[in-house]
Amino acid sequence: MLLKPSSMPSDEAKYKALVCVSIGQHPQSGRERRADQDGRAVEMGLNLQGRQLVDLSVVHAGQATSPVLRQYAGMGLSCMTVLSQHQGDDALSAMLDYVKDQQADFLLMGTRSETGESSGLLPYLLAEKLGWPLVPRIAEIQSIEKGVAQILLALPRGQRRSVAVSLPFVATVDNAATAARQTAFGPGMRANIEVVESLSAIDQEASEWQFQPAKARSKRMKVVKAKSAADRFKAATAKAAGGGGKVMKNESVEEKANAIFDFLLEEKVIR
């Protein structure tokens, strides 16, 4: 029985937070590593656990042999769960069963994985199947009280939006969240990694795809007509020019969709 600090109402039970982690890939060496956003998600979970708000458990769908799991564990986890999967399996159904089985109150994960499809779709699919709301790109969970979490969403250019979300929910963690703490070798080695046999379902669709290295997207050129160093500095540090867009709040869904469609045509994304 953990003693609760007096600041917490005594009827407030601890919530169960589940963090899903994946095996990341270092951009320079292509070697396995702790995925950056997933590390941030674990950091967020540990932080909430440190504040006595949640019980944290961390789960990975894949192979239990990866040394990277020890790097996650080295952040201060005494145990982790691995849903045993083969290469090329679809993690969705295994995850779904596990989340239901664990009766988690909310789910944290990175916005997108660093390997594989990296489509960022898994949290959306999970949320859809669970019937939970999805909170995209969060920077911080400020508080959880009476079944409602106060969350800061990360917006471009360092902006934040505060939202209140009722549990349960799925949240994806943005790069703006606190960076993952250093991993320690000893605790990581000693952590208990529990392997759970899970449904293995080959991802049929993905198995028929052809993979090739992505090409870098072409960037719009910035034409700098600077005459002096000060101008060049201004051009380099200026905010991206805004003003071209418009905010649509009260329009109907069709109007909003049309606006997006027109914009994509204008940008020649679809032809």
Partner: protein
């Protein structure tokens, strides 16, 4: 006569108390971890180690070495004779006269100790140490007078009446109690004389016996991986003979005078650190410490016990991270204490167990793990610097005379100039050389100094696996840190014998050989006054002071030596992960070093290390130019002459 029974009783009692104290003290050391030591061989070797190795270091301060020989030698001799003459009461005038002579010698020494304590330098500890010369003088005088009757100079019982005898007995009883108490009781119960007892045993059971007899042992000991804890968390996690080593400290402060971090005002003072370790092993606080504090850290607040985590109340983590592992303190310590071992042991706990490496430490370690180099560059770009160099790669040639270990300078544009210069010299000397190319990995030096022995060992094993596939006679490198790892630290992991029969050389040694063989010819250097900065990892760690100087003199340069050079060279501040942990101080170590360069009036400082180059070039202009010896030589190379 009262003295007839009082004196033997006092001596016997104090010897007995000293014996009890010795057992108590030994039990404090035994709280440490087991370490195999050849007890008998150690004890047999101890006198020679004391007379030769220890005094070789003390000898650097002529005043003190003579003083110590007279005082210490006089005391040991006198003590043996006091037991014979006054305790066992052997009636022999010869012994008594010998005792008088020993006491005179001791008295002369003690006078010089007294003089030194009149206006002591700041590095010396005060407190009980200020009492010591008085105790020494009292001891020698008291026993001199007490021995006069035995030597037949004065009549028995000093020719006094009964009252006089009682008075004399009481006065001398008190004097004997005070002085002999200091010498015997204090030796094992923790007074200044403790250094004699612990020091002698420390010499006998030293953890690095290779250091005696002119040897060198500088490679760190491997950490045991996979247990319930890593590194040293609590004083009892040290090996027992490390604890004994801490206890041997005489608080002479020579380490303090040499420590670059202390001079820079960072919160480290090697002497205080060792004294804090003593507090830790004996339990208590540092209130009684009477020497210089850690810069800007108040004395009296530290609390420790053998079972308490060191960084939770005894020593702040910043103190441990301030060290550049330059070994200046170890080199200077007359008691041959191993400060750097202790610091890295404690760092191992912070990194491997706590995940608490300060500043950029975590990022650097993560990079090393993911990319095999500290800055996280693409491993596939390791050989880009040599795109135009036409160097053979080991993978293709398999067998070569000389393997050039490039080290992580490959990723740094400034260091690449050194690499190119060295390659130019190699080609001019027609050396059969190859590099590992992309198969090379970081040597693990930084990871190891930051306490991450797991990563170091993994790198060492993988590098050795690579090396074991190829045949070569020599490894040469321009990086003293990699040189030290390959030469002194990889052997602990070299199961395949990849480095057996292989000579590991620093590029200055290698170039010096080429010069001696007449394979290189250089024109005289005309660029003005030059000084040379000894890299710690080349000099103190590997004893190479001569080759760089020989090369410079071969260029016709008369090196304008800095005040701190050779084995007393001051660190540039770039070692031991110090630039990564970057603990704030009042000054930068590199700036202090550059001031010393400027003081020689040199326009150019020659170095033999890329870290030193980076650190010294980081000093604000105007300042002397900084160039590696390879660069200076490459510029003076006369092509086609050899």
């Amino acid at each position: 006569m009262i003295l007839d029974w009082l004196l033997p009783t006092l001596i016997a009692t104090l010897i007995l108390l000293a014996g009890i104290g010795a057992i108590r003290r030994a039990n404090l050391w035994r709280a440490g971890q087991a370490e195999k030591v050849d007890i008998l061989a150690g004890l047999m070797a101890m006198p020679k180690r004391y007379l030769h190795d220890l005094h070789h270091v003390v000898e650097r301060d002529k005043y003190m070495s003579r003083t110590h020989v007279a005082t210490g030698g006089g005391f040991v001799l006198a003590m043996v004779l006091v037991v014979l003459v006054h305790l066992l009461e052997i009636n022999s005038q010869i012994l008594a006269w010998l005792l008088l002579a020993a006491l005179v010698m001791m008295f002369c020494g003690a006078v010089f100790v007294f003089k030194r304590r009149l206006n002591p330098p700041s590095r010396l500890s005060k407190g009980p140490w200020m009492r010591l010369p008085k105790s020494l003088l009292t001891f020698s005088l008291t026993f001199f007078i007490l021995t006069l009757p035995a030597a037949g100079i004065l009549p028995d019982s000093f020719g006094l009446g009964e009252m006089g005898q009682i008075l004399l007995g009481l006065v001398f009883g008190v004097l004997v109690l005070l002085s002999l108490g200091e010498m015997l009781f204090g030796m094992t119960w923790g007074g200044p004389m403790k250094h004699a007892f612990a020091g002698a045993l420390h010499l006998a059971f030293h953890r690095r016996p290779e250091r005696f007899g002119g040897g060198r042992s500088t490679g760190l000991k491997p950490a045991d991986l996979g247990g319930d804890s890593h590194g040293v968390a609590k004083p009892e996690d040290f090996k027992w003979n490390q604890l004994l080593g801490f206890d041997a400290c005489v608080q002479c402060g020579r380490c303090e005078a040499m420590c670059p971090a202390f001079a820079a005002g960072q919160p480290l003072n090697p002497k205080k650190l060792i004294q804090d370790m003593v507090v830790g092993l004996a339990g208590g606080t540092d209130e009684k410490y009477a020497g210089s504090a850690y810069p800007n850290v108040e004395v009296g607040k530290a609390v420790g016990s053998p079972t308490q985590v060191i960084t939770e109340g005894l020593v702040s983590a910043d103190t441990l991270w301030s060290c550049t592992t330059c070994r200046a303190c170890v080199e200077e310590c007359p008691m041959m204490i191993e400060h750097v071992d202790a610091i890295v042991d404690m760092r191992r706990f912070l990194t491997l167990e706590k995940g608490d490496t300060p500043n950029k430490g975590a990022e650097i370690l993560e990079n090393i793990i993911a990319t095999d180099n500290p800055n996280g560059y693409a491993p596939g770009s390791r050989t880009h610097w040599a795109a135009d160099q036409n160097l053979s790669v080991m993978k293709d040639v398999k067998k070569v005379d000389v393997l050039f270990w490039v080290s992580d300078g490959a990723f740094d544009m400034r260091s690449q100039r050194i690499l190119r210069a060295f390659v130019k010299l190699l080609k001019a000397a027609k050396v059969d050389v190859a590099i590992l190319g992309d198969e090379e990995r970081d040597s693990g030096d930084v990871a190891r100094r930051l306490g991450d022995d797991a990563t170091f060992q993994s790198l060492a094993k993988r590098n050795l696996a690579t090396l074991s596939q190829y045949e070569f006679n020599t490894i040469v490198t321009t990086d003293p840190h990699a040189f030290h790892c390959l030469r002194n630290e990889y052997q602990d992991f070299d199961e395949q014998g990849a480095l057996q029969e292989v000579e590991v050389l620093h590029h200055t040694t290698f170039l010096n050989r080429l010069m001696e063989q007449g394979k290189l010819s250089v024109a005289e250097f005309m660029g003005g006054k030059v000084t040379y900065h000894d890299p710690c990892y080349l000099g103190r760690y590997n004893g190479e002071y001569e080759s760089p100087r020989a090369l410079l003199s071969g260029l016709g340069i008369e090196v304008a030596e800095m005040e701190r050079s050779g084995y007393r060279s001051r660190c540039c501040g770039g070692g031991g992960g110090a630039p990564i942990t970057d603990i704030p101080g009042e000054r930068r170590i590199a700036d202090m070093r550059m001031e010393e360069v400027v003081a020689t009036g040199a326009e150019l400082v020659a170095v033999g290390c890329q870290q030193c180059t980076a650190m010294l070039e980081g000093v604000v202009e105007p300042r002397p130019q900084v160039r590696d010896i390879a660069e200076i030589m490459a510029d003076q190379l006369v092509e086609g002459a050899a």
